[in-house]
Amino acid sequence: MQRVPELVVIGGSWGGIQAALQILKGLPPNYSLPIVLVLHRLRDQEGNLQEIFERKTRLTTVEIEDKQQLVPGMLYLAPPNYHVLLENDRTFALDDSELENYSRPSIDVTFTSAADVYGDQVAGIILSGASSDGSSGLKYIFEKGGTALVQQPQEAEIDTMPLAAIRATPGCRIMQLIDIQEFLLSLHVN
């Protein structure tokens, strides 16, 4: 029996912002899980992403600070130039080590760390992007019994990232954004 996820991690790159907004705009402000969003950004780009998500979704959106606690109903954005790791006490730990897949933040790093802490109770979602980052992280989540979802490649602005994820994790569920949103809503408990 698969246990219900307690954490949602989402990764995307090119086209990922729009895709993430599509999914997240339908979630209630008191959504019962924390959501961590790792988007590749332009280097040193300052944090207006936070504003965009704050404005276009109903979730409280923050850029992750070191040692910050994960709380349900919050949308956490990976800051530029740091990898985001999770601690066993469900706080964030930032890390400025080498780029992974030419990226920092790297989706693989966060997905892997999430599965180390939450085991099978993670839902990982890969969205549009022009990179293969995230595919080994998604595989890792799946192998630990977690939920692996990938945006349907035909629907993605750039299908490189979804295709790489599907190749790495053939057992993942391939879904349109609207269905990913439905899935997330099904996890919500009032």
Binding site: D44, K67, N81, L86, L94, D95, E98, V117
Partner: protein, 276 residues
């Protein structure tokens, strides 16, 4: 729920941390675990080590192997003028006030391979303060300190550093600060004439002087909350009244017990000033 195999690996790392302390005196017990686990796993993967026993054997019989391990587990990624806005803010908000002192003392804690130190020295030079400033550049890792002293950085990074230098308010021809040679850029050693390089472990060593400015950037993120608090108290002890503390872009005083005694001079760039 966490998988039992992961819990077991983590348990083994805990044991390893204890053994390293006994054997080599390095105390990693206060470090942020998520990063330690990841670094150890990564190191084992790169060396083709399949289990903890295969790591422990060379680690405790071969001190060179341990050095390599230490290098890898303590992240020392760095760059020049990292977060240019931080250096611009130092230039605009901090150095003018430091210039009122006849003699300035600065501590660059966790200086890694020296990119931050040379950036700072360039700033001081351009603001006319370098000659009356003494900088203590410290790190836990002796190898990076030796590199810092050399001031030799890959030429491939120079375009990015040049852009960052101007973004940090640079006023000169950046190329005037270094000479290129065989893929390397050697920075002018005059810049670090007044620098003392010296190994210091923030986890275990104590305060050793008083400073007008302490930089400790992207080091605290690798520590757990308690060790962070220890280090911040160490800095508090080591700052003169009205002294400045500069942290990394994602590090904060906010959660610390010393925070009531500090003003945020520049909140986004994490520059704080001791009240008295």
């Amino acid at each position: 729920m966490k998988l039992s195999s992961d819990a077991q690996f983590e348990q083994e790392v805990e044991v390893l941390i204890g053994e390293i302390k006994q054997h080599y005196g390095y105390d990693f017990s206060g470090y942020a675990r998520a990063s330690v686990y990841r670094r150890v796993k990564r190191f084992m993967g790169q060396k083709g080590l399949e289990n903890m026993q295969q790591l422990r054997e060379p680690l405790f019989s071969d001190s060179f192997f341990f050095e390599v391990f230490l290098q890898d587990v303590t992240v020392n990624v760095t760059e020049m003028f990292r977060d240019p806005s931080f250096f611009l803010s130092l230039r605009q908000n901090v150095l003018p006030l430091l210039s009122t002192y006849p003699y300035i003392k600065i501590w660059d804690a966790g200086c890694s391979t020296g990119e931050e130190l040379f950036s700072l020295a360039i700033l001081l030079q351009e603001e006319g303060l370098l000659n009356r400033t003494k900088i203590y550049a410290t790190d836990i890792n002796q190898k990076v300190l030796r590199q810092a002293k050399e001031g030799i950085f890959p030429v491939s990074r120079i375009p990015a550093y040049t852009a960052a230098y101007y973004a940090a308010g640079g006023k000169q021809e950046f190329s005037g600060y270094y000479r290129s040679n065989y893929g390397n850029a050697k920075f002018n050693s005059e810049l670090v004439r007044n620098v003392v390089f010296y190994p210091h472990n923030l986890a275990t060593d104590s305060s050793f002087n008083e400073f007008h400015l302490i930089l400790c950037r992207n080091v605290l993120i690798y520590f757990g909350r308690e060790l962070q608090e220890r280090v911040l108290n160490l800095f508090d002890e080591s700052l003169v009244s009205l002294g400045y503390l500069g942290l990394g872009k994602k590090e904060t005083l906010a959660m610390s017990g010393i925070s009531p005694y500090y003003n945020a001079v520049d909140k986004t760039n994490r520059i704080y000033r001791k009240l008295n």
